[in-house]
């Protein structure tokens, strides 16, 4: 028989035992150990490089020598405000906004179904179906869309079979958003973005709706609200934080993407492409940095407005 049996406490020896005792007595030490490395990583690599970017954007390029002048100036930002550059900003923001609104509209019914009705294996299937596209390469998916949308592609083939070709032709003949084919139009770019970012909209909305108890919807109906009124007064306000969270994803991902619009779309640039061109072939790092600041500023304004409008009140 072990003499320790008489002891009140179970004894755990060794360094690990003493360490866990220490963490029990001083939880702050454990917290510091857990949080330290990731905070250091975020602080240095993430915030640090962001600040470096900000600083870069206040440098300028010497147009003759092509060298970067490391002096504080607003010259680069003034250049950003040129019509040709503002066009790029406006085009990108409009595209991001359209993609966001459209994906919210498509995502909502799917998320609602998943949160309210799907149970058991159906719910598992939902999660797999939503995330399956993310398992394959981004490039493969975008190139696949190029083929789908091409004039000889499967979409046009299907549309012609059901006799809706005139509709597509009418769409493509529209000014600005039209083009020679879906592959070379803003419509095509829009469809690709919509497809790419849809999962990022569905999941937060589903999570938000999951927290709305059924009894709340019952209560609304019980008090006389028709389904449409219940949607406007109860479901939508309560899902709004999820919609805003999803829109942060779709909005910022569209603002920053530079590959999809290059493969599918007209030849006009988006912010991401502009950054890519300026930092690469043009070697204009300050201009690239200034362009990079645009999505950050736009997102900040967007979140500020969302907060002002009470989007986070239901959190």
């Amino acid at each position: 028989m072990n003499t320790r049996d008489a002891s009140l406490t179970l004894f755990r020896g060794g360094v690990l035992g003493r360490l866990s005792d220490l963490f029990y007595r001083r939880p702050a030490i454990l917290l510091a150990l857990l949080l330290g490395p990731p905070l250091l990583w975020i602080g240095v690599v993430y915030v640090g490089s962001l600040l470096a970017l900000l600083v870069q954007s206040f440098y300028s390029i010497d147009e003759f020598s092509g060298r970067i002048v490391r002096e504080f100036t607003f010259k680069t930002y003034l250049e950003l405000l040129r019509p040709s550059n503002l066009d790029i900003v406006l085009r990108t923001v409009l595209m991001a906004a359209t993609v966001t609104v459209a994906s919210a509209m498509i995502a909502f019914p799917i998320a609602y179904y998943a949160a309210r009705y799907a149970r058991g294996w159906v719910k598992g299937l939902f999660f797999i179906a939503v995330m399956l596209p993310l398992w394959s390469s981004y490039l493969v998916r975008v190139y696949a869309w190029k083929l789908i949308l091409a004039n000889e592609g499967v979409l046009n083939w299907g549309v012609s079979k059901v006799g809706l070709s005139p509709l597509v032709e009418a769409l493509l003949s529209l000014p600005v958003i039209g083009g020679p084919s879906l592959t070379f139009s803003y419509i095509g770019t829009f469809l690709v973005f919509l497809y790419l970012w849809l999962p990022f909209m569905i999941l937060p909305i589903q999570a938000a709706l999951e927290r709305v108890p059924v009894s709340m919807l019952d209560a609304s109906g019980d008090l006389g609200a028709r389904p449409g009124q219940t949607f406007r007064k109860i479901i939508f306000p309560l899902a709004l934080p999820g919609i805003v969270a999803g829109s942060i994803f779709t909005f910022s991902l569209t603002l920053g993407d530079y590959i999809a619009p290059q493969i599918v779309g007209s030849s006009r640039l988006f912010i991401g492409q502009a950054v890519y061109v300026h930092q690469g072939t043009a070697g204009n790092l300050p201009m690239a940095a200034a362009f990079s600041m645009v999505p950050i500023v736009v997102m900040a304004i967007y979140l500020w407005i969302a907060k002002r409008m009470g989007a986070f009140n239901a959190l």
């Binding site: 108890p213 209560a219 008090l223 028709r226 007064k233």
Partner: protein, 360 residues
């Protein structure tokens, strides 16, 4: 059918309904052969019920007995798979909840978290298009009725359980329903608050004259609040009657056992102790302990047995006596013969206190 009239003040519409009048009052809600089956599960099975206008009607049963599903059928959240539900003369099959003049107080209260208290209460009026000023005024009046005036601008999250319950009550009453449904209204409250709310609900119902139908698994609550009680078991109504009926004259073994506790005297046991043959229910508080050698009284049964357990319960002691192959439960008052575990004791009850039941 939606009620369009907007009431101005409560006192004009208040009226007294005495329980004795209810039997002859018009029918508020009636269920005829109503079933709700979820595939193989018979949540509600061939239920017939009649609730009279102005009645405080209790639906009592263990969890899963179908009482809540029954309430949801009346509210319109569920649709019956068979049978008819009639609310004030109108068949309501296929009528969605928002077109029924019935309102519900939910078990979890279901207050809207993105609205403050007054907006929650005014919700029904807002939906009906009542102007902001008018609906606020009425909501504040309602809140006064449930004694919550000072909480008008609070958020639901800042209220205690009892206060939330009052908000839910005010919200459900503002539409002037013909029938108010309450799903386990006091389930989430602590004992003291529960007792207080029982009294308040009762007086509120009397004041408004609205038919109240409530669901509970607490037999004490059902007995103390209801004018009549329906006891549910396994999707069926096993007995309907006044609280006194249900408690004093349970018709089945289940009711005798579920409503309060009861000694079930089996025929074989009756024979052994010299009681009239039959299946009887005998309430523990009807049995007295008597001193040894006490002379027999007319129309009583006296048995002798060993005291198995004694459980102190404040006002009474709960005591179990082993008598001729059966166990008798007794509620022994603080005065009189004191039971001692392991000793013999003599128990006596009057024949009138034995209530005959169906052999179910």
């Amino acid at each position: 059918m939606q009620q369009k009239t907007v009431f101005i003040s409560m006192p004009e519409t208040t009226r007294q309904v005495s329980p004795s009048r209810e039997a002859s009052s018009p029918v508020a809600v009636s269920l005829a052969g109503v079933s709700r089956h979820f595939d193989a599960v018979k949540a509600v099975d061939k239920v017939d019920l009649t609730v009279h206008e102005g009645e405080f009607f209790g639906m009592l049963g263990p969890s899963g007995s179908g009482k809540t599903t029954c309430l949801r059928l009346v509210a319109g959240f569920e649709q019956p798979t068979a049978g008819n539900i009639i609310i004030f003369g109108e068949r309501v099959d296929g009528v969605p909840p928002y077109r029924r003049s019935v309102n519900t107080v939910f078990q979890d209260y279901a207050l809207f978290p993105h609205m403050n208290v007054v907006d929650n209460v005014a919700y029904g009026l807002m939906i009906r298009g009542v102007g902001k000023k008018e609906r606020r005024r009425q909501a504040e009046e309602m809140l006064e009725l449930v004694r919550l005036s000072e909480f008008v601008h609070r958020e639901p999250g800042q209220l205690s359980g009892g206060q939330r319950q009052r908000v839910a009550l005010a919200r459900a009453l503002i539409n002037r329903p013909k029938v108010l449904l309450l799903d386990e209204p006091l389930g989430a409250l602590d004992l003291k608050l529960r007792e207080q709310m029982q009294v308040e609900l009762k007086s509120l119902q009397r004041e408004l004259g609205i038919t109240f139908v409530f669901v509970t698994h607490d037999q004490g609550e059902a007995l103390s609040m209801s004018d009549r009680v329906a006891v549910f078991n396994e999707g069926r109504v096993v007995q309907v009657g006044s609280p006194v009926d249900i408690y004093e004259r349970p018709e089945t073994r289940f009711v005798a056992d579920f409503v309060g506790s009861s000694n079930i005297l089996e025929p074989a046991f009756c024979e052994r102790i010299g009681a009239p043959s039959g299946l009887w229910s005998l309430r523990p508080e009807k049995i007295r302990l008597v001193p040894e050698g006490l002379t027999d009284e007319a129309d009583t049964i006296t048995v002798t047995g060993e005291v198995r357990h004694v459980q102190y319960q404040g006002a009474t002691r709960r005591c179990v006596l082993a008598v001729k192959g059966a166990e008798l439960a007794l509620a022994v008052p603080a005065v009189g013969v004191e039971p001692v575990v392991g000793r013999m004791a003599h128990a006596r009850w009057h024949l009138d206190d034995m209530h005959g039941m169906k052999h179910v």
